[in-house]
């Protein structure tokens, strides 16, 4: 597909993003197959700032010695994601897009102070049993080298006859030997604190009333926060050279609340984990994290 590269400078302000979000609450009914937006949104030099990393780290539970958190660049790309989803040419309302899964690969060590060229574009449609899914690609380059990439799968529910390849990419997990290894007590302001570092002020994460407006009984934790919190628990000290993380989001985590990190005992630089309720019978997120092994 031919993409139209659009340089984003300066990045959109918070009010502008909110306004775009409001405008994109309603979209005309779609006739026929949806068309993939052709825009490739590029920010040519986004700094991995030490203060930004520290603030993200505090919100997710990272410690300084863990280096640049694996999922942090995605936070920097978030405004671009929102710009894509709120464009008039995007066929569905942005507010109805559910984050289903995320895949991240880091090819080289990232450093505070480094500038990244961030490219965000809609990559492909995916036919999901529950509706139309879309994969948004995020690519981070240093000079001309791909350093970090992420694919985010969003779902528009209840679309009949979705287009694209069928969705089959589900993380397996053996139930046997699953251990509860951590308890997370989540205060009501988890969503607001993550919004301040991610710039995603989606009301379903930040306010009780906002969440109710969109049909949730309480505010829910941001998926990328849940992934960040889990990676903070799993990431070894000393930073990452190469790494990948996959996660599938399941039931929402209501705030305030309490959940637990469950893990299957495996040796080596590999973690298979699931965030569940404390009793262990309700899954919230399943994850796989592999680090410092040559990526295939």
């Amino acid at each position: 597909m031919d993409y139209v590269t659009q340089i984003i400078d300066p990045p959109p302000s918070q009010p502008q993003l909110l306004l775009d979000g409001l405008r994109a609450l309603r979209k005309p009914k779609l006739d026929g197959a949806p068309e993939l937006p052709k825009a490739r949104l590029v920010r040519s030099a986004v700094e991995l700032s030490a203060t930004g990393i520290a603030a993200y780290g505090r919100a997710c539970g990272f410690r300084h010695e863990q280096g640049v958190p694996l999922a942090y660049p995605q936070v920097l790309a978030f405004p671009s994601h929102l710009m894509l989803l709120t464009r008039p040419s995007f066929p569905y309302p942005a507010s109805g897009m559910v984050h289903l899964a995320n895949r991240i690969r880091q090819h080289q060590r990232l450093h505070a102070g480094q500038a990244l060229r961030l490219e965000v574009y809609c990559e492909r449609w995916v036919a999901h049993p529950k509706g139309q899914a879309l994969s948004i690609a995020t690519r981070a380059y240093g000079a001309d080298t791909l350093l970090w990439e992420s694919d985010s799968l969003y779902l528009r529910r209840d679309v009949k006859n979705p287009v694209g390849e069928p969705w089959a990419d589900v993380l397996p997990l053996q139930e046997e030997g699953l251990l509860r290894t951590q308890r997370w007590v989540l205060p009501a302001d988890v969503g607001r604190r993550f919004a301040k570092v991610s710039g995603d002020f989606n009301p379903i994460h930040t306010s009780l009333i906002g969440a109710k407006l969109f049909g949730f009984r309480r505010a829910i934790a941001h998926g990328m926060w849940t992934l960040g919190r889990a990676l903070a628990a799993e990431q070894p000290p000393g930073g990452l050279d190469q790494a990948q993380a996959h996660c599938d989001f399941k039931l929402p985590i209501f705030l305030p609340g309490q959940v637990a990190l469950w893990r299957r005992p495996v040796s080596g630089p590999r973690r298979e984990f699931e965030v569940r309720n404390f009793a262990g019978d309700k899954p919230h997120m399943r994850g796989l994290f592999i680090w410092n092994e040559r990526l295939k």
């Binding site: 251990l179 893990r263 040796s267």
Partner: protein
């Protein structure tokens, strides 16, 4: 030409002269208004009185507390200044979670063994009644920012960020592992499941702990190990009349559906303090005190519980075989086993691990299982389940009681094993 030469210090035996503790009290009971320092002073002064150490300058006093106020930065020294020991006795604090008391004794003993000092006191105190409640973190950061600001305007600007809600959400001490957020009981429940430790076995161990502690009191075993304090002469957690039926009636405390750990077979939060007098044989002879036993050696270990590959309280399982191998000893060479009972389940997990051939081979690197511990030799004068567990005071309690038991027997050898938060384990050998 380098004329530097290193002469290794001769090592000498370290005598345990005696110990003293105050009766242990369940949290928020008789010692509710005492600080760590109050408790430590009471235990230390009792030892000074018993061994007539008034006005003496000792080599050192090493002690600590696990739950500490920031003002307690010099707890050992401040406590010492409140006793009749010479104020010229140096002191220092240390902290190794529940291993604090025993680690303090190992440090003092090592200095005696190397000839750096002739006599010293090791100890520990803990209160969870007088627990430190911190300022709200946001308020604390705001006040620090105001303190850093130079200009008055900046100070006021920083202080304007104070919100009323900050005053009603204090920072409370947590009874949980910082890296997992799970309480120690929840960690131990997980261990009990992994090792399939039955509820009945836990309750039986608990009952025996209470009964043996009561019997030891009855025969006057603690008469020269305890100084009464605030009208308390015995540990008030001791339930001489408890029974398997009573213990069986308690509901699980940490996992209400499938758990086996209860308030009965787990140690309660406890206030108390203990100290031990250690010296060279020459010092003991010079002052006319009999040697109860010698502190031969110690070994510490740690396990990775964070990734779930090992149980939080399993480190002693690793420390003991390492120490035995180094000293060329086996379980058969011991007459006493003083195993700290944080939870009955944790003791039983450790005993089972030492009997398990696969575990001993794969985890401990042993050709054969370490062996079975004869229960008749284990915690013969009661354990933490009976008397309670003021974190830093447990090591001193065990060391003094074991030394006395060996002395009463006319000789023998005993093993001390303590599990601690953070996946730590502290062990020692005492003999005569």
């Amino acid at each position: 030409m380098n004329d530097y030469s290193f002469n290794p210090a001769p090592t000498r035996r370290v005598a345990i002269i005696g110990g003293n503790r105050i009766p242990f009290a369940r949290s928020n009971t008789v010692y509710a208004h005492d600080s760590n320092q109050d408790l430590l002073v009471a235990a230390l002064q009792g030892l000074v009185d018993r061994y007539n150490l008034h006005g003496q300058r000792l080599g050192e006093f090493a002690a600590g507390a696990v739950i500490k106020h920031s003002r307690d930065f010099n707890l050992a020294r401040e406590s010492l200044l409140s006793t009749t020991l010479s104020a010229q006795t140096p002191a220092y604090d240390l902290q190794q979670a529940c291993g604090t008391g025993l680690e303090a004794a190992l440090l003092v003993a090592n200095k005696i063994a190397l000839g750096q000092i002739d006599v010293g006191i090791a100890g520990g105190a803990d209160t969870t009644s007088d627990a430190p409640i911190g300022l709200n973190e946001a308020l604390r950061h705001t006040l620090l920012a105001a303190n850093r600001a130079k200009a008055m305007g900046d100070k006021v600007k920083a202080l304007l960020k104070v919100r009323p809600s900050m005053f009603f959400k204090p920072l409370l001490p947590r009874n949980g592992e910082p890296r997992t957020g799970l309480s120690m009981g929840e960690h131990c429940e997980e261990m009990a499941k992994r090792w399939q430790i039955k509820r009945l076995a836990q309750d039986e161990l608990t009952l025996s702990s209470h009964q043996r502690l009561d019997a030891a009191y009855q025969r006057g075993f603690f008469d020269d190990l305890i100084s009464p304090y605030r009208g308390l002469a015995r540990d008030n957690n001791l339930r001489a009349d408890t029974s398997l039926e009573k213990l069986a009636s308690l509901s699980p405390a940490y996992d209400r559906q499938n758990g086996t750990l209860t308030a009965g077979n787990s140690t309660p939060l406890t206030d108390g303090a203990s100290v031990v007098l250690l010296a060279s044989e020459a010092w003991a002879a010079e002052h006319g005190w009999p040697v109860l036993a010698y502190l031969r050696t110690g070994e510490t270990a740690a396990v990775n519980f964070v990734d779930g590959s090992e149980g939080l309280l399993m480190a002693p399982a690793y420390a003991v075989p390492r120490m035995l191998k180094r000293e060329g000893l086996g379980f058969a060479d011991f007459d006493f086993f003083e195993i700290h009972e944080a939870f009955a389940a944790q003791v039983l997990c450790t005993l089972k691990a030492w009997e398990d051939a696969d575990y001993c081979r794969e985890r401990l690197g042993l050709d054969a299982p370490l062996g079975t511990i004869d229960r008749a030799k284990m915690n013969v004068n009661g354990g933490s389940l009976g008397c309670g567990h003021p974190f830093a005071a447990t090591g001193g309690r065990q060391l003094a009681a074991l030394a006395k038991a060996i002395h009463e027997r006319g000789g023998g050898r005993g093993l001390i094993s303590i599990c601690a938060a953070g996946g730590l384990g502290i062990t020692a050998i005492v003999e005569k």
